[in-house]
């Protein structure tokens, strides 16, 4: 059963992507973007989850997802208004779906009654809007008007195949009677995109009873307007079986639910449901044509007078993987005659066993699930081992260096002599640059994938603590290296828990303090210099410093005779074994959380800083390295060594001879820029570079550190701008103060990246000491 396990793994991967998408969509819906596209995306996601769950027999998940989907369907066609209450219910439902998925994945059983409340509310909502159906999938009978004659196609005894193929054939209008069901089936394009085949559905239906199928071609445009991927064909099916129930019919269509319009009407039960004749050509779909795809079916269905035009019509290759297109491969352009020949009498119900879509081990649903993932999201993706990507990243780095070394070897004489070589090198430079960009893009991922897990956390925290909390996210498209992102989830969870549990006050307290009832937790990401800053901010009570210090003293973290500054007290919350929770809650307060944050962040070379304003809130800032990100830098010289300064932190550069330096009483130099006095750091001195070069034509690089504090770096020379790949110093060495990392220049030498923020911090530190 390892095949099945593989499918399952893929399914769960997809589920997590789909759940992420759900979160995103609802975040937008919650913010007021209630357009149809979002609803459709939600619907698709739930539907895909349900479909896969059905295939693997996760019945609890299927049951819940189905009820949810039904509600969504009603919302989509306007029968249920998408009010705020409904949105809240849906968001709750997403969480339940997520729990069901998790339970299915881990094999843990959820309590039987889990989600039943919500399910009941779905049903109530559905009924509240004058809906007839008691069962979740019910449709109103007067929803559509039937305007066709059911035609008899006896699938068991089609002997006049040739006639059938080239012409319409006689149909006897059927008398309505009990046990006759009229099904109208209008597939959307999505149905085919998901590799569903109507024929398989018809076969299943045929297994239920005596069936007649009629294609409705009324929408078929002239050939000139014919769009290969559009769906023009729908079907009317009459099914007879004395024991047939609507539920059984609906079950057949369960897998394509949402990708088509289905109506099921019992004939004879409704007086006005007696069909009226409609002249339409007929298509017989049988076992042979089953392997042919949409276009062929549409082609076959074309009216006679259009057939001649069609004879040299070759269907455009379908823009999807050829694996599914085997019939196309064999017959790239089937003419009508070939198609006709392909149709021969086949007693479908007897000869062809109904293909059960509930068995994922068959090839069809496998292709189906792959299609689902790829097409519905609109992004095709593969999963690649990170090591493989890293290997490519490193080799590309080498290639870039080699390429620039080659370019540097070209002097003027060589350039004049070997123009072709020069041109080749230029192309090589472009290509390698492109290659480098592409490879880096593979490694970097938006923080969205982590951020999108947080709304749920906040909702749960809010409901557990009885607080009202709103989560704002900013900068979720900021890209960080994949490994960093993976390490980010736990610390962020702890930080947000901390904010919600300890920071935000209860609604009563907030109102008493004149704050809005709903507390805000703000999660933001931005690139700042050579770092990514992730900030978790809340507008809560702030850190209770007295209490923190008292606890720290009690626990021996701070010696009794030490009087730490406010800022130092704030940092104490990261000390191992520290907890300020007055009452230990099951959310946070076991004294491990913030400790974990610090160790996790340090592990990936980052740092955590906390600032708190009593009564106003707390801000925790994670500074993360851009390990493998590409950085735009300015290349400078300090002493004889190359250094790079992240371009994003540079405000301007000034020649020293034109800069106005002043001295403050301590003897330190400051730079006056447009009325502002800025601290000066002479990098040669700061880095203890030998050969104190004090020549006049040095430069000031004015940088902006965190919090718009400026700092003026004095360097010996400015060489130029370029893009570099950040390499870690810690990988083989250790962290060096004032240095954010290294990079490899075109000549193969290492340049060090100036850590502007870190430089400033060490200065402050030294002053304090």
């Amino acid at each position: 059963m390892s095949d099945l396990d593989d499918f399952k793994a893929t399914y769960f991967d997809e589920c997590s992507e789909l759940l992420t998408e759900l979160e995103e969509q609802f975040a937008a819906i919650e913010a007021g973007e209630r357009d149809a596209d979002r609803l459709n995306a939600v619907f698709r996601a739930i539907h895909s989850i349900k479909g896969g769950a059905g295939a693997f027999g996760f019945s609890a998940l299927v049951g819940f997802a189905h009820a949810y989907e039904t509600l969504l369907d009603y919302v989509r066609d306007g029968r249920v208004e998408l009010s705020d209450d409904v949105v809240v219910l849906c968001i709750r439902a997403n969480d339940i779906v997520a729990d069901h998925v998790k339970a299915a994945q881990t094999g843990d059983a959820l309590p039987a009654e889990y989600g039943l409340d919500e399910k009941a509310r779905f049903d109530a909502l559905a009924r509240g809007e004058s809906l007839a159906g008691e069962d979740a999938g019910g449709e109103t009978l007067d929803e559509f008007d039937i305007e066709f004659t059911p035609v008899m196609v006896n699938l068991d005894a089609l002997s006049e195949a040739a006639d059938l193929a080239s012409d319409t054939f006689e149909i006897a209008p059927m008398q309505p009677e009990a046990g006759h069901w009229e099904i109208r089936f209008t597939p959307y394009r999505a149905l085919y995109a998901r590799a569903n085949d109507p024929l398989l559905l018809f076969r299943e239906l045929a297994a239920l009873g005596e069936m007649q199928v009629r294609a409705v071609m009324a929408d078929l445009p002239p050939l000139s307007d014919f769009e290969p991927f559009a769906v023009y064909c729908s079907w009317e099916i009459t099914l007879f079986s004395p024991t047939l129930t609507e539920a059984a019919i609906r079950e057949v269509f369960e897998f394509v639910d949402g990708d088509c319009d289905i109506s099921v009407v019992q004939l004879g039960a409704e007086g006005d449901a007696i069909p009226t004749p409609m002249p339409a050509p007929i298509v017989i779909v049988d076992a042979e044509t089953a392997r042919l795809r949409t276009q062929e079916q549409d082609l076959m269905a074309l009216a006679d007078d259009e057939v001649s035009e069609l004879l040299d019509f070759s269907p455009a290759p379908v823009a999807e993987p050829v694996t599914r297109q085997d019939s196309f491969e064999e017959a790239p352009g089937p003419s009508f005659a070939e198609l006709a020949a392909a149709i021969e009498p086949r007693p479908v119900p007897e000869r062809v066993a109904p293909v059960s879509l509930n068995k994922p081990v068959t090839a069809v649903p496998a292709a189906d699930s792959e299609e689902n993932g790829a097409r519905s999201v609109g992004v095709q993706s593969i999963r690649v081992d990170l090591d493989k990507v890293d290997r490519v990243v490193n080799m590309v780095g080498e290639l870039v260096i080699t390429q620039s070394m080659l370019t540097q070897q070209m002097d003027e004489t060589l350039r004049a002599r070997y123009t072709e070589l020069v041109r080749g090198l230029e192309v090589l430079a472009q290509t390698t640059r492109g290659l480098q960009d592409s490879v880096m893009a593979i490694r970097a991922q938006p923080v969205k994938s982590v951020f999108s897990r947080m709304p749920r956390l906040v909702r749960e925290l809010a409901s557990k603590t009885g607080k009202k909390i709103k989560l704002e996210t900013v900068g979720e498209n900021t890209e960080i290296d994949k490994t960093v992102i993976e390490q980010l989830s736990d610390p962020l969870t702890h930080m947000i828990r901390n904010s919600a549990d300890h920071g935000i006050e209860t609604p009563e307290k907030r109102l008493a303090r004149g704050k809005p009832e709903t507390g805000t937790v703000r999660l933001s990401a931005e690139q700042a210099g050579g770092n990514i800053l992730i900030v978790v901010e809340d507008d809560g009570a702030g850190i209770n410093r007295e209490r923190v210090l008292q606890l720290a003293r009690d626990k021996g973290i701070v010696a009794p005779d030490v009087n730490p500054s406010d800022e130092q007290i704030d940092q104490l919350i990261f000390a191992p074994g520290f907890s300020t929770a007055e009452a230990l809650s099951d959310i946070s307060g076991r004294g491990v959380g913030m400790d974990v944050v610090l160790s996790n962040i340090k592990k990936i070379g980052g740092s955590v800083h906390v600032r708190s304003w009593t009564g106003k809130g707390t801000r925790m800032t994670l500074r993360l390295p851009l390990t493998l990100a590409v950085l735009d830098v300015m290349l400078v010289k300090v002493g004889e060594s190359p250094y790079v300064v992240p371009l994003s932190s540079i405000v301007e550069t000034i020649q020293c001879s034109r800069a106005s330096f002043e001295r403050v009483p301590s003897g330190e130099r400051v730079l006056q820029v447009r009325g502002e006095y800025v601290q000066v750091i002479d990098l040669a001195q700061r880095f203890n570079m030998a050969g104190e070069s004090q020549h006049e034509d040095r430069f000031v690089v004015l940088c902006e550190a965190e919090g718009s504090h400026k700092v003026a770096l004095v360097v010996d020379d400015i060489i130029g701008q370029q893009q570099v790949v950040i390499k870690s110093l810690e990988e083989n060495f250790e962290r060096v103060e004032g240095i954010a990392g290294g990079t490899i220049l075109g000549d193969g030498n290492v340049a060090l990246i100036v850590d502007v923020q870190g430089l400033k911090a060490t200065i402050v530190h030294k002053n304090a000491a």
């Binding site: 490193n394 083989n732 250790e734 060096v736 103060e737 290492v750």
Partner: protein
């Protein structure tokens, strides 16, 4: 005949070698010979400059680019307290793995590959703290004293005020 004799010599030792011998890469700093276990050595390359690292001790010569990764270079002479090496193109960097890190050690020259018996490794005489700190042991090979470098000790304490 001499070559044959040497091979016989090796042959005699090979039985023990499997169990009890140690292969060393020997390198020199001035007149002294030092060795590291050959399995730790990743690469030997000529000195081609290094980018100095600020705020590190004098025995950290800087970092080099080793096929896309940044590797620190330690000046072994300076590590032993004999002042910085003035490296030329003839000086050699021995790149080794220490734990999960790769480091380079700047030495004057790589001289030999030695096979020694573990039984012949002597303890470092007490006395000079630098010796006991940086050497794992001493072995005599062809009447030369070879100090076995403790790589972990060599690369530690690199920062100025750690």
């Amino acid at each position: 005949m001499e070559a044959l004799g040497l091979r016989d010599d090796m042959g005699d030792k090979s039985a023990i070698a499997a169990q009890n011998s140690l292969q060393l890469i020997a390198f020199s700093i001035g007149d002294q010979t030092y060795g590291v276990e050959i399995t730790t050595v990743r690469e030997i390359r000529a000195w081609n400059g290094a980018t100095p690292l600020p705020n590190t001790r004098e025995f950290v010569r800087g970092v080099i680019n080793l096929r896309g990764t940044i590797v620190p270079i330690f000046d072994l002479r300076a590590r032993f307290g004999d002042g910085q090496t003035s490296p030329t193109k003839n000086h050699v960097v021995v790149v080794m793995s220490v734990g999960d890190k790769w480091v380079g050690i700047l030495v004057d020259a790589v001289s030999d590959i030695l096979t020694v018996s573990r039984d012949d490794i002597h303890n470092v005489p007490e006395g000079n703290s630098i010796d006991t700190e940086l050497l794992n042991g001493i072995v005599t090979h062809e009447s030369r004293m070879v100090g076995l470098i403790d790589l972990h000790a060599v690369v530690s304490g690199a920062k100025v005020d750690a």
